[in-house]
């Protein structure tokens, strides 16, 4: 087998050998890295940029769900008192804790990919720069997607640790939610990348933010049970991706027997939006 490979390389060399007395420059690394490594190197590039500006980039977005948690949790609890959800009595803080983990995942995953990928595509032209190296579109796309998902996971886990410190979720409960945090991060990263692929300028990102993200943030069973809504609104809200993620992350606190449906919904949203994102951005880069 190795002889065969050697012959092929020799054939390749002689085929492209210079006829004059020129000598090719010898590459420093002659073995092309595997494609997963290429995805990793794109991801690492984004991570290095982030690590240089992390104080500005990290603190504000991560604090957002924590502020909601503290403000609404402590602010509204005395007025709401204890209430029953899914046959279980609980405090308001306990109710919104898991939801804020999901909100952290949602906002960070979405905003990093919608704005971050858009800027890298249109302003900094990072994608085009990367395409001059030994990277293909697939590797760059996945590197961006994994990076946005990573930021979603960071926000989810940090918020989760705050909820844990406040005693509103158990350590095992938090561990149990990790796979959902990961999946949810990929889902919102895909939705964000789809947005980055569709919008023509950065202001247009406001459209999905105000018509999709903000309503979803409020209607998804984040601050109150969706059953409180009129039935039609509750039905529509239950199909929102954040609603499905909130229900799944809330499982350690409120058991919901329809969780397999939520999980299936999350997977469908992730697969469909990532395929659409891949196609629109591909068309944009190679138009």
């Amino acid at each position: 087998m190795s002889t065969n490979a050697d012959q092929m390389t020799a054939a390749a060399r002689s085929e492209s050998a210079p006829t004059a007395d020129h000598k090719f420059p010898e590459p420093i690394v002659s073995r092309l890295p595997s494609w997963p490594y290429a995805v990793f190197s794109v991801w690492r590039r984004h991570a290095i940029v982030y690590s240089r500006t992390w104080l500005i980039n990290f603190l504000p977005p991560v604090t957002e769900p924590i502020f909601y948690l503290l403000a609404f949790g402590y602010g509204l609890s005395p007025m709401v008192g204890e209430f029953v959800v899914g046959g279980q009595k609980m405090s308001y803080l306990k109710f919104i804790g898991p939801a804020m983990i999901a909100v952290g995942v949602c906002f960070q995953g979405f905003f990093e990919s919608a704005y971050g990928s858009f800027i890298r595509l249109r302003f900094q032209r990072t994608w085009h720069g990367l395409l001059t190296g030994p990277l293909g579109f697939r590797e760059i796309f996945l590197g961006d997607l994994f990076w946005a998902a990573t930021k979603g996971m960071i926000a989810g886990v940090v918020t989760g640790l705050v909820v844990l410190m406040l005693g509103q979720i158990s350590f095992m409960g938090l561990l149990f939610t990790l796979p959902f945090i990961v999946l949810g991060s990929f889902m919102f990263a895909s939705i964000g990348m789809m947005t980055a692929g569709f919008v023509k300028n950065i202001d247009q990102i406001n459209v999905p933010v105000f018509l999709f993200m903000i309503p979803m943030f409020t209607f998804s069973g984040t601050f109150f049970p969706r059953d409180n809504l009129p039935p039609i609104l509750a039905f529509i809200a239950s199909w929102l991706p954040l609603a499905q993620l909130v229900d799944l992350i809330r499982l350690p606190v409120v058991y919901d027997p329809t969780w397999p449906m939520d999980l299936a919904g999350l997977i469908v949203w992730t697969v469909v939006t990532s395929i659409i994102a891949y196609r629109v951005i591909f068309r944009q880069v190679f138009k």
């Binding site: 006829t19 000598k23 590459p27 690394v29 092309l32 590039r45 940029v49 720069g129």
Partner: protein, 300 residues
């Protein structure tokens, strides 16, 4: 080394590249000369896999593009027209981080980055961010990035557009050095002097088509001959009469006319032109701009 066969590119029903075929070998600079919008950048983009051809084939050694673009680009260096550098990284880190994509080890990346910084005269700017660099230095940094893995083939898409004369000279020197090291180079430009000075072989493009091909000297000799004369203040009828008689070629040029000079009728032509009252004539060696004007009726 790289062969492109019958490349076509259509955008929204318009053919911007129409059947370009070319080849570049090791230690050779292939120039693409043409006015803005001739399809040079699109053609070159198809050769490295940055633009998908509507039709046609590109082979780089045994590799096919764009299918094996990643493999091919591992031994290509690409300097695009735009400076898509990482604004958050210094000159040094732009190189080190990009080297990761080729699979360099940490030491290899650092060593190579410093080597290229030294070679491209970026030493004083090692820790500066791209936004703090002049246009010429940015172009050098993009070239340094393209040279990280010692490529066999380097693409330079309008590398000196917007640079001052000093920076252009510096860039040309680097390009010649690369060729001498055995690198193949593909250069697009709309500067006649750049094309003439650097290219071993030249492709003239207009409206997406290859108009003519050859060494700069060959093209000039074949299309124009050795000498032309710029004429002002002479009636068109007189010029037509001379050109018809001597078989010279005549085109409007700036305020006046440009006429080729047939060596056999040189003295006669010049005497006739000089004797015309009010004439201002400037004989000069012909250049690529004249070739272009003759072939396309367009100035560069």
């Amino acid at each position: 080394m790289l062969t492109a066969t019958d490349l076509w590119k259509t955008y929204n029903g318009t053919d911007v590249v129409r059947g370009v075929t070319c080849h570049v070998g090791a230690g050779e600079i292939l120039g693409f000369l043409g006015p803005n919008g001739a399809g040079k950048t699109t053609t070159v983009g198809m050769m490295y896999g940055g633009v998908l051809p509507t039709r046609g084939e590109v082979r780089f050694g045994e590799l096919r593009l764009p299918q094996q673009g990643r493999e091919a680009r591992a031994s290509m260096g690409i300097v695009t027209q735009e400076d898509n550098l990482d604004p958050d990284f210094s000159v040094y880190y732009n190189l080190v981080v990009f080297a990761n994509h080729y699979g360099f080890s940490r030491d290899q990346a650092r060593h190579r980055a410093d080597e290229l910084i030294e070679r491209l005269g970026l030493k004083e700017h090692r820790d500066h961010k791209p936004d703090d660099l002049s246009g010429g230095l940015k172009r050098r940094l993009v070239l340094a990035r393209a040279l990280l893995n010692r490529p066999r083939l380097v693409f330079l898409d309008e590398p000196t557009t917007g640079l001052d004369p000093d920076s252009r000279q510096g860039f040309w020197k680097l390009v010649s050095e690369l060729r001498d090291e055995g690198c193949g180079l593909i250069l697009t430009t709309h500067y006649m002097d750049e094309a003439q000075r650097l290219s071993d072989r030249l492709i003239l493009m207009q409206q997406g088509k290859l108009v003519d091909e050859g060494t700069p000297a060959e093209l000039i000799q074949r299309v124009i001959g050795g000498e032309v004369v710029e004429c002002e203040g002479i009636d068109e009828a007189i010029l037509r009469e001379i050109s018809d008689r001597t078989g010279a070629w005549l085109r409007p040029f700036g305020q006046g006319w440009l006429m080729s000079i047939d060596p056999a009728h040189r003295q006669e032509t010049l005497t006739r032109l000089e004797s015309t009252p009010g004439s201002v004539i400037t004989p000069r060696p012909s250049n690529l701009e004249d070739v272009f004007l003759r072939l396309t009726g367009d100035q560069l």
